[in-house]
C-alpha cells in the first residue's frame, strides 16, 4: 500500500530537480499567503461578488491583464533560465530534457497565455468605451471566455510540478508529440490547456465581432470608428476563422494519442505533414491576431501625442483588413524546407512578401501622423516611437526569411529566433505595454509614475537590442535553435561564445526593465494624484469623455457621433460654447452577475485534468458538470436589472466632480 502510494506520487509529482522543489515550495507558500490574506482581511465575499462572478467588461479586462502579467513573469523566468544555460559553452545548468521543456512552455505561455489575454484585456476594457456601448454583446459569454482562459492556463501551468511539462516545441509537431515519442502526460497538458482556453478565445472573437458590428452608439458609422476598434474587429474576425482550425487539429492529435488514431502517425497511413500544415494555418494568422491590435494601440497613441488626426484613416483600415486576409495565405513559409516543391514555395514566398506592402503603408501613415505634430514624449508615446525602428528591422529580416531559397540557410537558426522575437517583442509586447500605460488612467483613475516608467522603457529597449541583435549573427554563424549546448561539447570551437554572452546580458537587462515596471505600478498605487477630469492625455476618442474609472453603465446617455475623433471635435464645440445637446436620462438596463462561467470552466478544468491522466472518473463527471451547468443556464430567467435615473444622477455628480 505505502509502496503504491510512493510510486504513484513519484510519477504524479515532478521530482528530482532542486529548481522544481524550489518552485513547489514557493507555489505552496504563495497559495497559503493568498488564502490567509483573503481570510484575514475578510475579502472572500468581495472577491466572489466583485470579481469572480462579475460580467462587467471593465473588470474582466483587468483580470485578463493581471493574469497576463503573471504569465509574462513565468515566461520571462523561463527565458532567463534558457539564456543562462546558453551564456557560456558547456554550461551545466539545464540538461537537454529540461531545456526542451522550458523552451516549449516559454513559447506557449508567451503567445497563448500572455499575448492573447493581454490583448483580450485591452479589447474588453476599451472597445465598448470607444464605441459608446454599455457592455459587450454577450456579457455572460465574456465572463465564460475569461474563466476558460484562466482554467486552461492553470491546467497548462500545473504540468510544471505535476506529471511533467510538455517538451515537443510550442507547436508540438508529431511524430515527436505522438504517443510513441512522448509517452508522458506533458503533451496531454499541452492539448487540454490550449484547447480549453482556445474555446474561450473563439467565443471572445465572436463576442467582439457582434459587439462592434451591432452595438455602436448612434452616428458611429464603421468608418468613424477609432482605429483600435478597427484593429479589434480585424483581429476578432481572424480569430473566428483561424481558431476552429486549432480546435480540430488539437482534437485530432488527442485522438491519435488517446484512442490510437492515425491522423499524424508514421504508421497506419497517417500523415504528420498534415499536422504541420494545419497548425500553421492557424499559427500564422495567430501572430497577426496578436499584432493587429498592437497596431491599433499605436495608431491611437501617435494621433493623441502628436495632437493630430491619424494620417490616412482609410488606408489604415484597408491595410489592416488586407493583412487579416493575407495572413491566411502564407502559412507554408514556416516549412519551406520540408519539400513541398518549387511552385508551392514560390507561391507562399510571394504572398509573404506581399504582406510587407500594407505593413509599410501603416508605418508611413504613423510617420506622417507625427510629421509637424506637436509631439510630447510621455511613456505611451516612447513605446510607440521605439516600436517603429524595431518593427522595421524585424519586418526586413522577415522579408529575408520569406525568400524561399535563402530560408534553406536561415531556417530554424538563431536568425529566425531573432526575427520573431523582434516582431513579437518590438511589436506585440511594446504595443500592449504602450496600451497599458495609455489606458491605465482610464482603468484606475490615476497615471503611472513617469520617471520609473522611463527607466523601465530604457532597460527594455536597450536590453532588447543587446539580447537579439547578436542572435542574427549567431544564426548566420550556424547556431540552430533549441540546442542547450554548443562549442566544445561538439569537439571544436564554433566561436559562438562572445555573442551568446552579450545576448544573455541583454536578456537580463529586459528582466530589470520588468522589475522597474512592477515597482512603477506598486509605487504609483501608493503615491499618485487622482485624475479628476478623465482625460489626462487630451484624448480624441470617446473613452476619454468618461470619468475615470468609468461607471458600471459607462455612458449615462449614449453620445451622438458625427465624425472620426468625435471627442476631440466635441471638445472644440464645448470650447466654442456649442456642445451637442444630450438626451434626457433614462433607466439603464444591466446584466446580472453569474457564478456559472466560473463553475462551468472549473468543470472543464476537471474534465481536462482527467483526460490528461486518462482518469475517466475525473473526465466524465467533469463533462457532465459542463453539460449540467449549460442546461441550468438555459433555464435561467436572466432578466438583469435597471439602474434608476436618480442613482445615475448621483453617480455622475460624484464621479464628474463639480464639472
Amino acid at each position: 500500500m505505502w509502496e503504491n502510494i510512493k510510486t504513484f506520487a513519484s510519477e504524479f509529482f515532478v521530482t528530482g530537480d532542486p529548481l522544481i522543489y524550489g518552485a513547489d515550495v514557493s507555489i505552496a507558500l504563495t497559495l497559503v499567503a493568498i488564502v490567509f490574506a483573503l481570510t484575514y482581511f475578510k475579502k472572500w465575499q468581495w472577491l466572489w461578488k466583485e470579481w469572480i462572478t462579475t460580467v462587467d467588461h471593465k473588470k474582466i479586462g483587468i483580470m485578463y491583464i493581471l493574469c497576463s502579467i503573471l504569465m509574462l513573469f513565468r515566461g520571462g523566468v523561463d527565458a532567463l533560465l534558457m539564456r543562462t544555460q546558453l551564456a557560456m559553452p558547456d554550461m551545466q545548468f539545464l540538461n537537454a530534457e529540461h531545456y526542451n521543456a522550458i523552451f516549449t512552455t516559454h513559447g506557449v505561455i508567451m503567445i497563448l497565455f500572455m499575448a492573447m489575454p493581454f490583448m483580450f484585456g485591452l479589447f474588453n476594457i476599451m472597445v465598448p468605451l470607444q464605441i459608446g456601448a454599455r457592455d459587450v454583446a454577450f456579457p455572460f459569454l465574456n465572463s465564460l471566455s475569461f474563466w476558460l482562459f484562466f482554467w486552461g492556463a492553470m491546467l497548462f501551468n500545473m504540468s510544471f510540478v505535476i506529471g511533467g511539462s510538455p517538451d515537443a516545441g510550442w507547436l508540438a509537431y508529431p511524430p515527436l508529440s505522438g504517443i510513441d515519442h512522448s509517452p508522458g502526460v506533458g503533451q496531454n497538458f499541452y492539448i487540454w490547456g490550449i484547447q480549453i482556453s482556445g474555446i474561450g478565445s473563439l467565443m471572445t472573437g465572436i463576442n467582439f465581432v457582434v459587439t462592434i458590428l451591432k452595438m455602436r452608439t448612434p452616428g458611429m458609422k464603421l468608418m468613424r470608428m477609432p482605429m483600435f476598434t478597427w484593429s479589434a474587429l480585424s483581429s476578432c474576425l481572424t480569430i473566428m476563422l483561424a481558431f476552429p482550425i486549432l480546435t480540430v487539429t488539437l482534437a485530432m492529435l488527442f485522438i491519435d494519442r488517446f484512442a490510437g488514431g492515425h491522423f499524424f502517425t508514421l504508421d497506419g497511413g497517417g500523415n504528420p505533414m498534415m499536422y504541420i500544415n494545419l497548425i500553421w494555418m492557424w499559427g500564422h494568422p495567430e501572430v497577426y491576431i496578436v499584432v493587429l491590435p498592437a497596431f491599433g494601440v499605436f495608431s491611437e497613441i501617435f494621433a493623441t501625442f502628436s495632437k493630430k488626426k491619424l494620417f490616412g484613416y482609410t488606408s489604415m483600415v484597408l491595410a489592416m483588413m488586407s493583412i487579416a486576409i493575407f495572413s491566411f495565405f502564407t502559412w507554408a513559409h514556416h516549412f519551406f524546407t520540408m519539400g513541398s516543391g518549387a511552385n508551392v514555395n514560390a507561391f507562399f514566398a510571394v504572398t509573404t512578401m506581399l504582406i510587407a506592402i500594407p505593413t509599410g503603408v501603416k508605418i508611413f501613415n504613423w510617420l506622417f501622423t507625427m510629421y509637424k505634430g506637436k509631439i510630447t514624449f510621455e511613456t505611451p508615446m516612447l513605446w510607440a516611437i521605439s516600436f517603429i525602428p524595431c518593427f522595421v528591422i524585424g519586418g526586413m529580416t522577415g522579408v529575408m526569411l520569406s525568400v524561399a531559397p535563402a530560408d534553406f540557410q536561415f531556417h530554424n537558426s538563431y536568425f529566425l529566433i531573432a526575427h520573431f522575437h523582434q516582431v513579437l517583442i518590438g511589436g506585440v509586447v511594446f504595443g500592449f505595454f504602450a496600451g497599458l500605460y495609455y489606458w491605465w488612467p482610464k482603468m484606475f483613475g490615476f497615471r503611472l509614475n513617469e520617471r520609473i516608467g522611463k527607466w523601465a522603457f530604457w532597460f527594455w529597449n536597450i536590453g532588447f537590442y543587446v539580447c537579439f541583435m547578436p542572435q542574427y549573427g549567431l544564426g548566420l554563424m550556424g547556431m540552430t535553435r533549441r540546442v542547450n549546448e554548443y562549442d566544445w561539447s561538439q569537439g571544436w570551437d564554433m566561436g559562438w561564445m562572445p555573442l551568446n554572452i552579450v545576448s544573455t546580458v541583454g536578456a537580463f537587462l529586459m528582466g530589470i526593465g520588468f522589475i522597474f515596471q512592477v515597482w512603477q505600478i506598486a509605487y504609483s498605487i501608493k503615491n499618485h494624484k487622482r485624475d479628476v477630469n478623465g482625460d489626462p492625455w487630451n484624448g480624441r476618442t470617446l473613452e476619454w469623455s468618461l470619468p475615470s474609472p468609468a461607471p458600471v453603465y459607462n455612458f449615462a446617455t449614449l453620445p451622438k457621433i458625427q465624425e472620426v475623433d468625435s471627442w476631440w471635435e466635441e471638445k472644440e464645440r464645448i470650447k466654442a460654447g456649442k456642445p451637442t445637446p444630450q438626451a434626457p436620462l433614462e433607466p439603464i438596463h444591466m446584466p446580472d452577475n453569474s457564478a456559472i462561467p466560473f463553475i462551468q470552466s472549473l468543470f472543464w478544468f476537471i474534465a481536462g485534468f482527467g483526460f490528461v491522466f486518462n482518469w475517466m472518473f475525473f473526465a466524465i463527471p467533469g463533462l457532465i458538470g459542463v453539460a449540467v451547468t449549460m442546461i441550468v443556464r438555459s433555464f435561467q430567467k436572466d432578466e438583469g436589472y435597471y439602474i434608476p435615473v436618480d442613482e445615475i444622477k448621483k453617480t455622475e455628480a460624484s464621479t464628474r466632480g463639480a464639472g
Binding site: 454583446a137 454577450f138 459569454l141 473563439l202 465572436i206 463576442n207 465581432v209 457582434v210 458590428l213 451591432k214 452595438m215 473566428m240 476563422l241 481558431f243 476552429p244 482550425i245 480546435t247 480540430v248 487539429t249 482534437a251 485530432m252 485522438i255 491519435d256 484512442a259 490510437g260 488514431g261 492515425h262 491522423f263 502517425t265 504508421d267 497506419g268 497511413g269 497517417g270 500523415n271 498534415m274 494545419l278 433614462e586 433607466p587 438596463h589 453539460a627 442546461i631 438555459s634 433555464f635 436589472y641 435597471y642 434608476p644
Partner: protein, 202 residues
C-alpha cells in the same frame, strides 16, 4: 426592480427584442466557425481516405441501405423542423411543440441507425485505430453525430421551456436558432453522404 412603471415595461420589451436579435447574429457567427471546423475535418478525410493500411475499405464496410435510410430520416426531420418554424410564425405553440417533437424523434432514429452502423463496423474489426482512413471516417462522421446529439438535448430543453412559457421573444429566438442549426447539420450530412459514402463505394 420591484416596481415597474408602464414606460419601463415598454422599454424592457424593446430592450429584450434587441437583445434577442444580437443573439441570433451571434449564432450565425458560431455557425461560420462550425463550417470551418467541418471543412478541416473534410479536408483531412479527403487526404487520408485512401490510406487503408491493409484494413477494410469503404466497399467492405459501408452498407448503403442503412446510410440511405439515415439520409432520408434526416432530410425528413429537416422538413418537420421547417413545419415547426411555420407554426412559430403563425403563433401556434402547439404546432411548434408537436413538430419539434417529431423532429427530435427522427433525430433519435438517425442516431440509432448511425450507432448501429458504427457498432457493426467495430465488430467487423474496423476500429478507429485500424487505419488512417478509419480514424478520419469515425472522427468526421462522429463529430456530425455529436452535433446531432447536442441538437436533441437542446430540443428537449426547448420543448420544456415552450410548454412552460409559451412563445415569447426568448423562446422564439431559440426555436429560430435551433432550426438554423438543424438545417445546417442537414447540409453537412449531405456532404458526408456524398464525399464519404457515395464517393467511397463508387
Amino acid at each position: 426592480m420591484a416596481h415597474h412603471t408602464a414606460a419601463q415595461t415598454a422599454h424592457h420589451h424593446s430592450h429584450e427584442e434587441e437583445h434577442e436579435s444580437l443573439k441570433t447574429m451571434g449564432f450565425w457567427m458560431f455557425l461560420i466557425t462550425d463550417v470551418i471546423l467541418f471543412s478541416v475535418l473534410f479536408a483531412t478525410f479527403i487526404v487520408l481516405r485512401g490510406n487503408f493500411n491493409g484494413g477494410p475499405g469503404p466497399h467492405e464496410l459501408f452498407q448503403m441501405p442503412g446510410v440511405i435510410a439515415e439520409t432520408f430520416i434526416l432530410l425528413t426531420s429537416s422538413f418537420t423542423c421547417g413545419l415547426a418554424l411555420l407554426s412559430l410564425n403563425a403563433g401556434k405553440v402547439k404546432g411548434v411543440i408537436g413538430w419539434l417533437a417529431v423532429t427530435g424523434i427522427l433525430g433519435i432514429a438517425f442516431l440509432t441507425l448511425e450507432i448501429t452502423e458504427f457498432v457493426h463496423m467495430v465488430h467487423e474489426g474496423a476500429t478507429i485505430s485500424t487505419s488512417a482512413f478509419l480514424t478520419a471516417f469515425y472522427t468526421l462522421v462522429g463529430t456530425h453525430g455529436l452535433h446531432v446529439t447536442i441538437g436533441i438535448v437542446w430540443m428537449t430543453g426547448l420543448l420544456i421551456q415552450l410548454k412552460r412559457n409559451g412563445l415569447n421573444a426568448k423562446t422564439k429566438r431559440k426555436v429560430n436558432n435551433l432550426s438554423l442549426y438543424w438545417h445546417f447539420l442537414d447540409i453537412i450530412w449531405i456532404f458526408v453522404f456524398s464525399f464519404v459514402y457515395l464517393m467511397g463505394v463508387m
